[in-house]
Structure formats: C-alpha cells, structure tokens
C-alpha cells in the first residue's frame, strides 16, 4: 500500500495515462479493423462463399451440423451458414446507411446553426435538445410499428434520431472555428459562406465526421439487431437479429443443443461486429484527436 503511494507520486501521472491509453488503443484498433475486414469480406463475397441460396429450402428442417450443412438447417430447412453470410450484408447496409445519414443530417443542422448563430441556432438547438432527451428505443419502436418494418425506413429513422448528437458536436466545432482570424479575413475578402465552409471548416470537421461515422455505425448495427430481436425486423432481409428471433420462437429451443449452431453464431456475429466498430472508433478518436485538444 505504502509503496503504491510512492510509485504514484514519482511518476508523472498525465504522461503515463496517455501512454497507457495509446498502447491499449493500438491493440484495440488492430482487433477492430481486422474483424471489420472479415465482416466486409463476408458481406461482399456472400454469394461466392455461401454454399446455398439462404432463402431456398435445401435440406430437411432442423438438421444437425454435418458435411452438407456446416451449421445445420433451421426450422424450414434453410442452410444456417448461408443465412449467416448473407446476414452480414443486412447489418452492414443498415450500419453504413444510418451512419452516412446521421453525419449528413448532423452536418446540415449543425453547420447551419453554427454558421448563422443567433435565433436560427437557438431554435435548431432547442429541437436538438428535445430529440436528445427523448428515449430513442421506444420512439424507434413506435415509428417502426406504424410504418411497417422496412429496412429503408428503419435506417432513415435511425439517422434522424442519431443526428442531433452529431449536430451538436459539429455546431460546437463551427463556433470554435468561426471566430478565428483566418475565417474573418476570408470573409472580408468576399469569400462566400459555402466557400469558407468547404475550404476552411470542413478540414477541421473531418476528424469529427470520421469518428461520428464509425460510432453511429456501431449504434445502428446494435439497434437493428435489437429491433429484429423484438420482432421488428424486415422479413425480406434476414439479419442476424432476425435469425435469433426465429430461433427463439422455436418452442423448447434451449432444451436441446440446437442453440449451439442456430442461436449462438448470429449472436456472436452481431456482438463481434459491434465490438469491431467500437474499437475502430476508439482508435480513430485517439489517433485523430477530434476536438483539437493537444494530448
């Protein structure tokens, strides 16, 4: 106990903390990017990698894993491995779509508020605060139940609900840059707002946007899986969450060992995808250091 005291005092706390964080994030980043590469490969080459058409009834129902079906078949005789590979597409499409939508909407609202300031800013930020305060999951459930569970509207809803956080971050950075001398000088020289935004603001926003993109993708992947798990998945695009839902709908699933190849693989896939996106995001955040504080 006493020796810990002395050690803590002889080291420079801030320096070691930064070094600690940097070392840890290097490993995290590597794990995250490698996992992400695996999932992207699976999604891109799913038709080549999958042994069967995931929608076709190729075997008897509930077959155990064997030479013909590496992960067995589900209750209607579809190949689980093929479903798993094609499921990567659904998760990644929703993740990328929602992330791009979040960043674009955030950029629009945060950019306008941050550039114009005044009452426009006040009004927009009020709306942002309200949307941030509302519980997202019940709101998404309500909207998805009303519109029907289509992949497109689900992605759009997520973008709409994730973007306020993004808008607030972008607005703060815009305010930070707006007062700088070089922006004022450019304005005096008659540069248009769009030019200043493109030429001067965007480079400062880029690290924020990249980190925001990855973070939103992780949240969207988790949300899609969660909604599918609650029975709000798009039945025409079978995701990992929906596979889990269908597996759990089979009475007595947990009483046999079927969960081992039907329930566990999709659960593991979605968990690893979320972890991969989180780790990549954490690495990027430390590497790019958005917000501009010196480390």
């Amino acid at each position: 106990m006493r020796s810990n005291f002395l050690k803590a005092q002889t080291q420079l706390p801030e320096r070691t903390f930064v070094r600690e964080a940097r070392r840890a994030s290097g490993t995290e980043g590597l794990i995250g990017v490698s996992l992400l590469a695996v999932f992207v490969t699976a999604a891109l080459f799913a038709p080549l990698l999958a042994p069967y058409d995931p929608a076709a009834f190729v075997g008897r129902p509930l077959e155990r894993p064997g030479a013909a079906f590496l992960l067995g078949t589900n209750d209607v005789g579809q190949d689980i491995l093929s479903e798993l590979l094609f499921g990567a597409r659904v998760s990644l499409v929703v993740a990328v779509g929602a992330a791009v939508g979040t960043v674009l909407l955030g950029l629009l609202v945060g950019g306008v508020a941050g550039y114009l300031g005044g009452w426009v800013d006040a009004a927009l930020m009020r709306g942002v605060d309200v949307l941030l305060a509302l519980p997202q999951l019940p709101l998404i459930i309500l909207i998805t139940t009303l519109t029907g569970a289509g992949l497109a509207q689900m992605t759009l809803t997520m973008a709409l609900l994730f973007s306020p956080g993004m808008a607030r971050i972008i607005r703060a950075q815009m305010f930070n840059q707006r007062g700088r001398a070089y922006v004022k000088i450019a304005q005096r020289f008659g540069a248009s707002p769009l030019y200043i935004f493109r030429r001067h603001m965007l480079p400062h926003l880029a690290p924020l946007l990249i980190v925001g993109l990855v973070t939103a993708a992780g949240r969207a992947a988790a949300m899609e899986a969660g909604l599918a798990f609650l029975g709000l998945g798009d039945p025409s695009a079978k995701s990992w969450g929906l596979m889990m839902r269908y597996a759990l709908n089979l009475p007595g699933l947990l009483l046999t060992d079927r969960w081992l190849w039907w329930l566990l693989p999709p659960g593991l896939c979605i968990t690893l995808l979320i972890l991969a996106l989180t780790f990549t995001g954490m690495r990027l955040e430390k590497r790019l250091n958005p917000g501009g504080q010196s480390s």
């Binding site: 006493r2 605060d129 019940p138 709101l139 139940t145 519109t147 979320i274």
Partner: protein, 318 residues
C-alpha cells in the same frame, strides 16, 4: 424546468402526430374492412374510433387527446380489450423492480471496483477490469442475457427459464413467495447489472483518478493518514459527485435495456408487453408505453440535474 416541460410537451405531441402523419395510414387501416389490420370486434373498433376521433378536425382531436391524458385515458388495447392505462399499470411494477434492482447492484459493484481500480492504477487488476469494462459495455444486452440463460437456466438448471413468478403458484409462506420472485428476477437482473456496470465502473475510476491527483490528497498523505481513510473519506466522496448525475441520467438507459431483457426472459414487464403488442400491431399500447417511458426518462434527467445542483456548490452558485 422549462426545458423539462418543453421535452414533455414534445413527447406528447409527437405521440399524437406520428400515427396521423406517418405514411401508410396505420390508423385508417384499423377501421377499413378491406385492410389486413381491420379490427373485427365492433366494441373495440368503436372505442378506437372514439379515442382517435379521426373524423373530427385535427385541433379538436389534439385537445381531446391532451384532455384525455390528464384523466389517464390512453385509449383501449386492441389485443387485450382493456384500457391501455390499466394494462400499463399491470406491467410497470415488474419493469421498475428489474430496473431498480439492477441499478442498485451495478452502482454498489461499480463504485467499489472503480475506486479499487483507480487506487491501484496500472496494476494487473486495474488493466483487466478496464479492458473487461470496455468489452462488456459494448455487448448487446440480449446476447449477454442469452448466454446467461443458456448456462444457468438451460444447462445447469439453477434458475427458471422464463416468467416473473411460477404460474398458478400458491405460496405456503411469505418467504416462499419472496424466494420464487427472487429466483425469477435473478438472471434478468444479472444481465441488466452487467450491461450497466461497465459505464459506472469506468466513470468512478476516471473520476477517482482525477481526485487522487489533487493537492488535498497529497496533504492528506503528508499528514500520514491511513490509506483506507484517504481512499474512502477523502477521495471517493469527492469522486462520487459526477456519479450521482450519471446514475439518474442512466436510469433511462437502464429502462430501455430492461425492455430487451424482458422480451428475452419473458419477464412480465413493459418489454414483454411491447414485444407482444408489436406482433399484434396494438398501436394504442405501444403509444402508451412510449408516453410512460418518455415521462420516466425525462423525469430522471430532470432529477439528475437537480441533484447535481443541490450537491455541488460550484454549480449552484455559478
């Protein structure tokens, strides 16, 4: 306070507007004999017509809706043929039991482990706990729950697989009743605790590290105070200030986490209610659930701000 009321009004208004403005006319489908969603029970259909009042002008509908809210009128469940307020009242206590149990457990464990990890910063224990915290905090709750359910429910048979209590059970004593409830609560509460734990641990650890580097800790050490006294009396007390805010603000997150867990464990709270209502397209119930959860989350956030203001003189006076 103004922000809180504004948020509340926005939630209630959104709840009114969404079903009326979203494409696909979900409400009209309930009353249209040609649609798949047509409600055949004429008594339920009439109560729906009365509640939504789609024939009236929009402003009148809105005022009618707000007036109904104040008297607790949230419409009629299509599936259960009961008032929505009564249905929600049946399910809410279960969710609160689950959420509060998990919040309490996660707070105790998170404070203790966070303080210890910060005290021994850089030690193998600290590194292991921090890494575990980051990983566990990002695993979806339904996956953690599934693993626990498979291990402790299905394989080891230590805990019941589903439900909130044994069906049709008649308890010999109060002790038996408590035991039955606790056995059913254990796995869902453990799942939610794990999901809430990591952010609490990381917060207390970070906050404690900050406090430990301050001058008054150095003074306490120079005075030769015992380590335990410095750790708990000087450091932890100050490190807990941000935790109080976090705890209240995190209540909303806990509540939504509980929704997934209930759907998995068939626990009879709001989550299972939402799950079953989604399948039946029971819009009034889902709307009611949204209102109730919104009120809880907004109130928890308001409470968080108020507590911080009360506890921290720097904010109160500043």
């Amino acid at each position: 306070m103004v922000g809180y009321l504004f948020g509340l009004w926005a939630a209630l208004t959104l709840n009114f507007l969404l079903p009326r403005l979203l494409p696909g006319d979900p409400l009209a489908a309930l009353l249209d004999p040609d649609s798949a969603g047509y409600v055949y029970d004429s008594a339920v259909r009439e109560s729906l017509e009365a509640y939504y009042g789609l024939d009236a002008p929009p402003v009148e509908q809105y005022l009618h809706y707000l007036a109904g809210l104040f008297t607790g009128d949230l419409g009629q469940s299509i599936r259960l043929k009961q008032p929505v307020a009564a249905v929600l009242g049946d399910h809410l206590p279960w969710t609160l039991l689950l959420t509060l149990t998990a919040l309490g457990l996660a707070s105790v464990i998170g404070i203790w482990s966070g303080a210890e990890a910060a005290w021994r910063r850089g030690s193998p224990m600290d590194k292991a706990l921090t890494a575990a915290g980051v990983v566990i905090g990002n695993i979806p709750v339904f996956f953690t729950g599934m693993i626990l359910l498979i291990i402790f429910g299905a394989t080891l048979n230590w805990f019941p697989l589903s439900g909130g209590r044994t069906a049709f059970a008649r308890y010999a004593s109060a002790f038996d009743a408590v035991r039955d409830y606790a056995e059913h609560l254990f796995l869902p509460a453990l799942t939610l605790t794990l999901a809430l734990l990591s952010s609490k641990f990381l917060l207390v650890r970070g906050s404690m590290i900050g406090v430990l580097s301050e001058d008054f800790i150095l003074v306490a050490r120079a005075k030769g105070l015992p380590a335990g006294r410095i750790k708990h009396h000087h450091a932890l007390r100050n490190a807990l200030l941000p935790f109080v805010h976090h705890l209240a603000a995190h209540a909303g997150f806990a509540l939504t986490g509980a929704l997934f867990i209930e759907a998995l464990f068939d626990y009879p709270g709001m989550g299972r209610l939402i799950f079953e209502s989604v399948a039946a397209r029971d819009y009034p119930v889902i709307q009611g659930a949204f209102v109730v959860v919104s009120v809880f989350v907004l109130s928890a956030n308001r409470l968080a701000d108020w507590l911080t203001m009360r506890l921290d003189p720097r904010i109160r006076e500043g």
